[in-house]
């Protein structure tokens, strides 16, 4: 199972959603995920992957794809300091 599939599985499980309804293109808004749900998902991801996701990155994860991208880079040990700035950019989902 790759990172994307695992993320979908965790989001579906934590939100009590049908996994088939959670796709790479789903935004948190579409899935009914509010800020507290987001924190819960983050907690589950950190537990699952045994990593720490910095708050600055976490606050801007508003879609499944953003989660997968951020996680992939954290797992690869890459510098992720630019991710927060990137997410703050044009994405409407991140504007809240």
């Amino acid at each position: 199972m790759n990172v994307g599939e695992k993320v979908v599985e965790i989001i579906a499980r934590e939100q009590h959603l049908d996994p088939a309804k959670v796709t790479m293109d789903s935004t948190f808004e579409e899935l009914g995920i509010d800020s507290l749900d987001g924190v819960n998902i983050l907690f589950a991801l950190e537990e699952e992957f045994k990593i720490d996701i910095p708050d600055t990155v976490a606050q801007n994860m508003k879609s499944v794809k953003q989660v997968v991208d951020s996680l992939t880079r954290v797992l690869e040990g890459k510098d992720i300091s630019d991710l927060a700035a990137m997410a703050k950019g044009g994405s409407p989902a991140a504007s809240s």
Binding site: H16, L36, N40, F43
Partner: protein, 409 residues
């Protein structure tokens, strides 16, 4: 001054999951006390509690909602649903800001605390579940009730240990009486049967062991009483301005005529006679009821040596020679001491006794104690028309709440 009536009632207890079942079992002297089954209690010295048997939260809530609900808030919502359903009320959008909620809890989300700290200390987790705070906070029950029923008026939580829901109902009563709200849900909920909480209570040395027979463990006012039994559950009443209730053609179950509140200001666990006596007098004064008019007292009656003897002295102090003519019973003998829920559960028992003319007994009474020499309605329910009754709540910490109720005629 506005009059305040009870137009809805709900309970969720070890003795029944709704008010009719609960009252029927009370009248029959049944017991909700059993060996604890929700966790492994074999290492505890006290292994019994008034536990809601075979409780499955998924029978009442979808999984997503449950993530956010400690058991005490679950119990509160279930009892609130019955209170609303039994009232037949529908609250329009424009009425919501006049719809209040006051819920008491002694322990809040005890189970979520316990589970979280177990992870932290025993399993060496370095962080806790993000829903821990919204689950454990004492006001969670109030907030979830507000959300489910759209109550947007004054809403708060009380935490006065065993008097929590007596105070909650008193506060809601005064809110309506003094015009801050027209309708309010008020009561209490607690789910204290957790490993950690049972250990806390064990250490106070006020719990009855039952000696192998849980059903007769709690024996209030009896010479051989050995302590209280922890229980879980919720009780809620819907209070309403009388004119509001009459306008919508509501069924009226009873009237709250007064509420007395006082502090012993003496000792953190040892009760006084003066503090509770002042609370009773205050309730009678507010309802303009003479002591001789009181027919029944649903006692705090925990079953500890000290409480029951002191409460007897309190009743004699206030009622003088009428004390011997009153019917007094402790329904805790059957539903246990449900902490912050107990005042509300007992108020429902009291209102149903007024409504039906049947006084529930003090169960498990075996022999008289010279220090407890009043009429405790031992073991057998009593059919007797009663018009005016008190429900006593005296808490650890010396904080007392007494509710005065009248039969609706």
């Amino acid at each position: 001054m506005r009059r305040v009536v009870i137009t809805g009632m709900g309970v969720f207890t070890s003795l029944g999951r709704n008010k009719d079942c609960f009252f029927q079992n009370l009248v029959q002297g049944k017991s909700g006390i059993r060996r604890i089954s929700q966790f492994d209690s074999s290492s505890l010295s006290i292994k019994i509690a008034a536990e809601i048997a075979d409780y499955d939260p998924l029978d009442y809530f979808p999984a997503k909602q449950l993530d956010m609900l400690d058991k005490f808030a679950q119990f509160a919502l279930i009892a609130a649903r019955e209170a609303i359903e039994s009232s037949g009320i529908t609250i329009g959008d424009e009425e919501r800001p006049r719809f209040g909620v006051v819920m008491g809890s002694g322990m809040g989300g005890a189970g979520s605390f316990d589970a979280g700290y177990h992870n932290l200390y025993a399993r060496q987790a370095t962080r806790l579940h993000p829903f821990t705070i919204p689950r454990i906070m004492h006001n969670a029950a109030t907030s979830h009730i507000c959300m489910e029923f759209g109550a947007q008026g004054p809403a708060l939580a009380t935490a006065t240990a065993c008097s929590s829901s007596g105070h909650a109902i008193g506060e809601a009563f005064h809110m309506i009486k003094f015009g801050l709200a027209d309708v309010a849900l008020a009561g209490g909920a607690d789910a204290p049967i957790t490993y950690g909480m049972m250990r806390c209570w064990e250490s106070v040395r006020v719990l009855a062991s039952g000696n192998g027979n849980p059903a007769t463990a709690c024996r209030p006012f009896s010479a051989d009483r050995e302590g209280l039994v922890i229980g879980e559950g919720a009780g809620i009443v819907l209070l309403e301005d009388l004119e509001h209730a009459v306008r919508r053609g509501a069924t009226i179950y009873g009237e709250i005529a007064g509420c007395g509140m006082s502090s012993d200001a003496s000792h953190i666990t040892q009760p006084t006679v003066d503090g509770p006596a002042r609370a009773i007098r205050m309730a009678l004064a507010e309802g303009e009821v003479a002591p001789e008019e009181v027919d029944y007292i649903n006692a705090h009656g925990t079953g500890t040596r000290l409480n029951d003897a002191t409460e007897t002295s309190v009743i004699k102090e206030v009622f003088k020679e009428h004390a011997g003519k009153l019917a007094i019973s402790s329904t805790k003998s059957m539903h246990g001491h449900t902490m912050g829920a107990t005042g509300a559960i007992e108020l429902v028992a009291t209102v149903m006794a007024l409504e039906r003319g049947v006084i529930p007994p003090t169960a498990n009474y075996t022999k008289p104690d010279p220090e407890c020499d009043l009429d405790y309605v031992p073991n057998q329910a009593r059919e007797k028309p009663i018009r005016t009754a008190l429900s006593n709540s005296f808490a650890f910490g010396g904080l007392n709440a007494v509710l005065l109720v009248r039969r609706w005629e």
